[in-house]
Amino acid sequence: MASTIRVRATASGETTEVQALIQHPMDSGFVKDAKGEIIPPHFIQQLTFEYDGKPVFSADWGGGVSKDPYVKFAFKGGKKGDDLKVSWVDNKGATDTTTAKIQ
């Protein structure tokens, strides 16, 4: 199955800028469906970015993050061609991970 994570990491000078877009319903558990029943909560709880084996950014998310979440951040270091590993875990225990090359 293709990854749910699309990430673009660009090294520019001393900094690497990272943008990630993840496919995920991010259901908060507060919304009702057409039948009037609550759609159960289903959202990414933790997201981590690792460079050179160390975390460079991590997120603790709740159902208040928009569907198909997007996040952008930057870290010092990172060279073109190096790997950036991205992983997430959701409230149902599902996970996904991908490794992108810094451009």
Partner: protein
């Protein structure tokens, strides 16, 4: 007391063996402690994500309350056309930032997201959040062990909770 006959006293050997054993036990404990600490730091802040008010959420996350600071710069729209997807970003000139969190007062769960900023990561985050209705958006920055915040009211025309 046994005599080893090579000038190395048995007492000294016993002490050194004891010291060696303790040293090994000490080393053995380290990985356990390190992983326990790491696990504690990486734990999902369950309680903070259950809190209804932003005050309770901030207390659950950080154990203290922030002071407003103009060094925390939040970028959010005046009016959100779509409450389900509101782009909010923050940047700060504060040093030694370790954490940045986003809260929405009028959401059923005030805490939306909390980010850990390791040393070497730029203290700046952009994300997209849901807003149930017109509300204050609060950004909290933990820097140098202290807590700072910025607040902005964002008007919402179409609520982000599907209603």
């Amino acid at each position: 007391m046994t005599s080893t006959g090579n000038g190395f006293s048995a007492t000294r050997r016993l002490i050194l063996q004891g010291a060696g054993a303790i040293a090994l036990i000490g080393l053995g404990n380290l990985p356990f402690l390190a992983s326990a600490l790491a696990a504690a730091n990486d734990k999902y802040p369950e309680e903070a994500f259950k809190a209804k008010s932003e005050t309770d959420a901030i207390k659950a996350l950080y154990g203290k309350m922030p002071e407003a600071s103009d060094k925390v710069k939040m970028d959010a729209p005046e009016i959100a056309e779509n409450g389900a997807v509101v782009p909010v970003s923050v940047t700060t000139t504060l040093a030694d930032v370790t954490s940045i969190s986003f809260l929405v007062s009028e959401n059923p769960v005030a805490l939306v997201a909390s980010y850990k900023i390791p040393a070497g990561t730029v203290p700046s985050v952009a994300n997209r959040i849901k807003m149930a209705k017109t509300s204050n958006v609060i950004v909290v920055v933990e820097a140098g062990g202290k807590l700072y915040s910025a607040t902005k009211e964002v008007k919402v025309t179409v609520g982000g909770c599907g209603g």
